[in-house]
């Protein structure tokens, strides 16, 4: 994967999650039980995303799995 695309995949995820935690904090209040639950939810999502990124094998050009042959891909 091109490094710039990899960086985009990581940063877009973490920035979105951070913004969501900030937005949620404005509603539930910092340091409350709700806040810790929101934070835990973001952490679970981050761990799951990191695992998927680490474990997803990148197909090579020519492999069937690499072909975006359905209209809804490209």
């Amino acid at each position: 994967m091109p490094p710039a695309l990899r960086r985009f995949a990581w940063w877009s995820f973490f920035i979105t999650e951070a913004l969501l935690v900030l937005a949620a904090t404005a509603y539930v209040g910092a340091g409350t039980r709700g806040f810790w639950l929101v934070l835990a939810s973001a952490v679970v999502a981050s761990v799951a995303y990191a695992l998927v990124v680490r474990r997803t094998r990148e197909p090579e050009l020519g492999e069937t799995a690499s072909v975006p042959h359905r209209w809804y891909w490209f």
């Binding site: 973001a42 997803t56 050009l61």
Partner: protein, 261 residues
């Protein structure tokens, strides 16, 4: 409400996981050969602008399939996009940066309600047409339909309108709320059954949870085309990327065949 905010980071995480598995790694295959994500230097801005106008703004390619599929898709995509924008503006001006003009009943608030309801109505009409057309679609048209996605989004929209109508029906009549269009009309029609307490909470929570779950669903279904198709069209408008892809395919074909162990 707390449950909603707790679930949102998880749902968005599921969306990103879907995007990574179903979009990013495929993009990597296509773009990997060029060695960079976006070809900044040889960027053809005119071609990019033209592709954006044709593929995203007026969706010319869908117009070639007929007037009705185009109208349906325009109503859904523009309805969804504008609704999303008004949702963000509503959260911003009524919750995070509360301004006097955006307090309930004031001009700004009515403007937000008008935008939300008008875009929601466009989306609703598009989805109803999509559902009706999907049921009568022939085999050629069938491959372009997404019934589960349509029904899912329809549930999001309907629960949103019902929750809003119940909220309005619970309040004293106010002619200025006519700017809320369908929400107002539905609210007035439901007024004899008011007050709605438990049912209002139920519909509001159902709407919030369905809307959030729909975000997660985007990355794992045909709805991924919301991201993939415009991106693909914009990339392919760039001669540098097209050439890089052709070169990579040719190099792949010319590579000596190796046995896999």
């Amino acid at each position: 409400m707390t449950a909603f905010w707790v679930l949102i980071p998880l749902f968005v995480g599921v969306l990103f996981i879907g995007l990574y598995r179903n979009l990013f790694v495929k993009l990597a295959v296509i773009l990997g050969a060029s060695g960079r994500f976006l070809p900044a230097r040889p960027l053809d801005a005119a071609a990019l602008g033209q592709a954006y106008a044709d593929e995203v703004l007026v969706q010319r390619r869908i117009r070639l399939r007929g007037r009705m599929p185009w109208a349906r898709h325009m109503l859904i995509s523009w309805g969804f996009s504008v609704l999303f924008l008004f949702d963000i503006l509503t959260a911003l001006f009524t919750k995070y940066l509360p301004l006097e003009a955006f307090k309930a009943g004031h001009g700004g608030w009515l403007f937000l309600k008008f935008g939300l309801n008008l875009s929601g109505m466009a989306l609703l009409v598009g989805l109803i047409i999509a559902l009706a057309r999907g049921m009568a679609a022939d085999r050629d048209e069938e491959k372009f339909t997404d019934r589960p996605g349509t029904i899912f989004l329809l549930l999001v929209v309907v629960t949103g309108f019902v929750a809003q109508a119940m909220h309005f029906a619970n309040q004293p009549p106010d002619p200025s709320r006519a700017w809320a269009l369908l929400g107002h009309w539905l609210g007035e029609a439901m007024r004899p059954g008011a007050p709605y307490t438990g049912s209002y909470s139920f519909f509001w929570m159902a709407h919030a949870l369905l809307a959030s779950a729909f975000l997660a669903y985007l990355g794992w279904s045909r709805m991924i085309h919301v991201f993939a198709t415009p991106l693909g069209r914009l990339f392919y408008s760039q001669p540098a990327l097209r050439e890089a892809k052709v070169r990579a395919v040719m190099e792949g074909l010319l590579k000596p065949r190796t046995e896999k162990s």
